[in-house]
């Protein structure tokens, strides 16, 4: 069956099997391999993408369920002008090792900061608790998110009066 969705700003239509998972649609059909899968039971979060601004686990979402919606993946995080503060935070605070959890982790973190620009450590930990990382022990991921929060706060504070965020 045909499914049409907007992925990272581009409208795509494909003929897919109804049972095709969104994670496989993104990876195999669209070759957006930044979204990973690590468990297929909604436990690890490696497959986290956004549907209409909400993080979802694409390993337990059918591609057809995303029909008519906006999907955002890690490939869209970099605004084109350099790294997103979340990406920069992960880099500067060594929030990644093998990099396998990183795309999903960053999509969750980006969502958090959009909702809550100044989360404390406990809030960050709770928010990323659906994303498993086997390498980092989470410490530097928490620091990376804090770095992004601080940096965005600075960027906003430095903006001239009246500028929109």
């Amino acid at each position: 069956m045909d499914v049409t969705m907007n992925v990272n700003g581009d409208e795509v239509t494909r003929d897919v099997e109804p049972r095709l998972l969104l994670v496989h649609f993104l990876r195999d059909e669209l070759r957006l391999t930044g979204t990973h899968w690590g468990c297929d039971t909604s436990n690890c979060g490696a497959c986290t993408v956004w549907i209409d601004q909400q993080p979802v686990k694409s390993c337990t979402t059918l591609a057809v369920m995303a029909g008519g919606h906006d999907v955002r993946t890690v490939e869209d995080l970099d605004p084109g002008t350099g790294l997103d503060p979340v990406q920069e935070g992960f880099m500067l605070e060594h929030g990644l090792q093998c990099g396998f959890c990183t795309p999903g982790m960053m999509m969750t973190a980006r969502w958090l900061l959009d909702k809550n620009p100044d989360p404390d450590e406990a809030t960050i930990r709770e928010c990323i608790s659906g994303n498993i990382c086997r390498c980092t022990g989470y410490e530097n991921i928490v620091r990376a998110v804090r770095w992004a929060a601080n940096h965005e706060a600075d960027a906003t504070a430095n903006q001239p009066e009246g500028a929109s965020a």
């Binding site: 099997e17 049972r19 095709l20 496989h24 990876r27 195999d28 070759r31 957006l32 391999t33 930044g34 979204t35 990973h36 690590g38 468990c39 297929d40 039971t41 436990n43 690890c44 490696a46 993946t73 890690v74 490939e75 995080l77 970099d78 790294l83 990406q87 992960f90 880099m91 500067l92 060594h94 990644l96 090792q97 093998c98 990099g99 396998f100 959890c101 990183t102 795309p103 960053m106 450590e121 960050i124 930990r125 709770e126 990323i128 608790s129 659906g130 994303n131 498993i132 990382c133 086997r134 390498c135 980092t136 022990g137 989470y138 410490e139 530097n140 991921i141 928490v142």
Partner: protein, 795 residues
């Protein structure tokens, strides 16, 4: 430049040597541009899937693949019978046993590989699995190692000639007679048995490969999740009889390894056969339950320890008896001479005059493996045993566990120290590390707080562990895997403009080799690290070596990188002398440059030497042009990193829930090439410790059914279970390593579980309870009715 001096900064702001440096590899990972095996997509590529056994032990009566073959999208169905015609139905394991690739006679564990389907897409391949009819005749199982040698236990390996039982080996180390004598006369003997349960490394990326056989050229290319690409190439050549020069193994970006990706799995072999049969590239990626049920597990050591001591706590001897569950095939990955890995290090960090251990390994109806999950070849088990035993002794003597450790730790003047099992620790200052951990923790203050809490009816625990690891396997004369010596090659090319390529034999699963190895070369040669490209994970483009596991990259390959850079430096000196028309003896080195003694302005940078080496400069007799070098590094000994860990936990006595409130880790891995990366490695290992101590276990029911086949059942620590880690360091260089570095990747996984378990038991004021200390286990222990086997769904 010594390692403790601050390195000067490069034009890009990176340390020209050691220091915190942002990782080069991050640029691609942050943008979703990593290239993992499942990201490989070749034209015409087909997909494989494995049919697995639902039984732990059953004879295969028949396999009917006709319906699967009739599936319109299926290209091939491969069974053991077909593999038999290719002599590939069985393959050698890394421990000189054999393992079934696709089963021909009987299945020996649940999840064992029975058939392989190749189809046009992932989904069709799995659909076709459902169409294969297998008739099984279930057999009695043995899944509890304690019953593997019972007279009526079913013989699992009746494929091996003359097998009448399930024993794999008996192995011992130390002097039994001397040890027994000490025990017979000791004032105090404390005995405790404990299980280090079967756990799984569970890297976030599962295992898989893409095999592509070019029938015209005979070239086989395999992209695969391997920690040891060169060893895999040789094994494919030996197993499949393929010519080694036509095999290329590419280990692209790997999503974590932890020992899970050392060996060769049946799926890899099936993908190769699938590609040979269909003439198309074949991808096989396992799913999570396949990963947990069939690939290399870790531990499963049933240990009984005994300490002999004086009444005032001087340790006199240690005796250990181990029953090792190796599963259905002996597939442990470790140096040939050491069937129980480096369990020799069971005396740990203490001054035991005598020690003895016996390890008996058995087959059971469980998946094969055993050496994995950052265990440093069984030092994890050894460290856990000795650290638990020390706490048991402290419990019986009513001594403070820190004081007891301080009293018995090896003293700095004892190094180099030879253990009762004959291993030589290279360097260490253990009391300094323990004092540092106690200082950071505020140990005395914590004990005061604990006393107050106890008085108020609240429960907190403080647990210590001290570990010594032996990493960097290993000296060629002692250590090989399947006959391949554990030395590592390294090649360095300095291009005419002074930019460099370093080709290393080891491979990264997240450790950051592209950064640290560039820093090593930069430290030696003064070339900015951003000008040094590190090439790894591709057998066509790197020298031979045995790969990354057992924390061996820095101790072995890192040494090779330093040595190869020194060769370049020596050659640059000859070139500089020719260019400057002076004798080599007149030259002196400063970071990145040879200059004439007494005339600092007259000199040549390494970049200028590189250009001159490629130019027309007349070189002395016998000196070749260009600036390249290669070495093979054979380590003279292992390196012995160590550390002192302290965990602080709170236990909810109503629910048995344990909260790790603080964790202090002081690691000594010698000089730190990139402290940021070292700390990251430690953080990750500490989380592993939380997992093993409190959550992770591969449990089985009485029929050998695996009860941990998904992340809903096999629990991994999340950000909620992990505290904010508090790290410290001491620095004791290795005297035999070119830059003194010791390796750190596995330290925290080795050292941390005992600290957490000791803390929980300290909180409960009981001597022992089995891991994992889940709320149920803790609650039962609180009730005085401890669970004997948390790893089995029986009592």
């Amino acid at each position: 430049m010594t390692v403790t001096e601050e390195a000067p900064l490069s034009p890009a702001g990176n340390p020209m040597g050691f220091g915190r440096m942002i990782r080069k590899e991050d640029a691609r990972f942050l943008r979703g541009q990593g290239n993992y095996v499942d990201d490989v997509n070749l034209p015409g590529m087909l997909h494989g899937a494995i049919l697995r056994s639902p039984y732990a032990h059953a004879r295969i009566v028949s396999i009917d693949t006709s319906a699967a073959e009739a599936h319109p999208k299926v290209k091939a169905v491969i069974t053991g019978k077909i593999l038999e015609t290719l002599k590939l139905a069985w393959m050698p394991t890394l421990s000189y046993d054999v393992q079934s690739v696709l089963c021909t006679d009987k299945v020996r564990f649940q999840g064992q590989e029975v058939a392989f389907v190749v189809a046009e897409d992932r989904y069709s391949a799995r659909d076709a699995l459902e169409l294969i009819e297998v008739e099984y005749e279930p057999l009695p199982t043995v899944f509890d190692a304690r019953h593997a040698l019972d007279a009526d236990a079913p013989i699992i390996r009746d494929d091996l000639d003359g097998r009448t039982d399930n024993k794999i080996y008996d192995w011992e180390a130390g002097d039994k007679a001397k040890c027994d004598e000490v025990f017979a006369n000791a004032e105090v003997v404390v005995k405790q048995s404990m299980i280090y349960p079967r756990v799984h490394p569970a890297p976030l990326e599962t295992c898989g490969s893409v095999a592509s056989m070019d029938k015209v050229t005979g070239q086989l290319t395999v992209w695969t999740t391997t920690q040891a690409p060169h060893a895999h190439r040789t094994l494919y050549a030996l197993v499949a009889g393929l010519p080694e020069h036509k095999i290329r193994i590419i280990s692209p970006d790997i999503g974590g390894g932890f020992g899970n990706k050392v060996g060769i799995y049946p799926g890899y072999v099936c993908a190769v056969v699938g590609s040979i049969l269909t003439g198309k590239p074949v991808k096989w990626m396992e799913d999570r339950s396949e990963n947990l049920m069939s690939t290399s597990f870790a531990r499963d050591y049933h240990m009984t320890g005994e300490i002999a001591a004086t009444k005032d706590g001087k340790m006199l001897g240690l005796r250990v008896d181990v029953l090792a569950d190796h599963g259905a095939f002996n597939g442990v990955a470790q140096p040939t001479k050491y069937p129980a890995g480096f369990f020799h290090l069971f005396t740990g960090s203490y001054d035991y005059p005598v020690a003895h251990c016996n390890v008996r390994a058995v087959y059971t109806n469980k998946a094969p493996g055993g050496v994995a999950y950052a265990c440093s070849f069984r030092i994890t088990e050894a460290a856990f045993l000795v650290e638990r035993m020390v706490d048991c002794l402290a419990f019986e003597l009513k001594m403070d566990p820190a004081e007891l450790r301080m009293k018995n730790l090896l003293r700095p003047e004892q190094f180099p120290y030879t253990t009762p099992t004959g291993w030589e620790y290279d360097s260490g200052d253990y009391p300094r590390a323990l004092k540092e951990a106690m200082r950071i923790a505020g140990y005395d203050e914590l004990r005061r707080e604990q006393a107050e809490k106890r008085a108020a009816g609240e429960t907190m625990g403080i647990g210590i562990s001290f570990f010594t690891e032996g990493v960097g396997a290993g000296p060629r004369k002692h250590m090989d895997i399947l006959g391949l010596g554990m030395a590592d090659g390294c090649e360095l090319r300095i291009h005419p403009t002074g930019k460099a390529q370093l080709r290393i034999s080891v491979q990264s699963q997240g450790q950051g080799h592209e950064t640290t190895f560039a820093q090593i070369v930069s430290h030696e040669l003064g070339i900015p690290p951003e000008d040094i490209e590190v090439i790894h994970g591709d057998t066509d483009n790197t020298p031979f070596g045995l790969g990354t596991y057992g924390s061996r990259s820095t101790p072995v390959s890192g040494a090779a990188a330093a040595v190869v850079a020194r060769r370049i430096k020596d050659k640059a000196k000859i070139i500089a002398a020719a260019a400057l028309e002076c004798s080599v003896d007149d030259l002196e080195w400063e970071h990145g440059r040879w200059f004439v003694k007494g005339d600092h302005d007259k000199g040549q940078t390494i970049q200028e030497s590189a250009f001159a080496a490629h130019g027309t400069l007349e070189l002395p007799e016998g000196v070749e042009g260009h600036l390249d070098a290669s070495v093979v590094y054979d380590p003279p000994n292992l390196t012995y990193p160590f550390g002192a860990y302290i965990a602080v936990v709170d236990v909810d006595m109503g629910t048995g829930h344990v909260k790790v409130r603080r964790f202090i880790a002081v690691d000594d891995c010698g000089p730190r090439i990139n402290p940021m990366i070292v700390e990251g490695q430690v953080h990750g290992g500490l989380a592993d410790g939380v997992g093993m101590a409190l959550m992770e276990v591969m449990a089985f029911d009485e029929n050998g059914n695996h009860l941990g086949g998904s992340f809903m059942d096999y629990l991994l620590p999340t950000s909620m279970e992990c505290p904010s880690w508090e790290l410290g360091e001491t620095v004791t260089p290795s005297p035999h390593h070119p830059i003194g570095a010791k390796g750190v990747g596995e330290s925290a996984t080795v050292g941390s579980p005992a600290a957490i378990v000791n803390a929980v038991l300290d909180a409960l004021q009981i001597r022992h309870a089995e891991m994992p200390l889940t709320p149920a286990v803790v609650w039962r222990a609180i009730q005085g009715n401890p669970l004997d086997r948390p790893d089995l769904a029986i009592e």
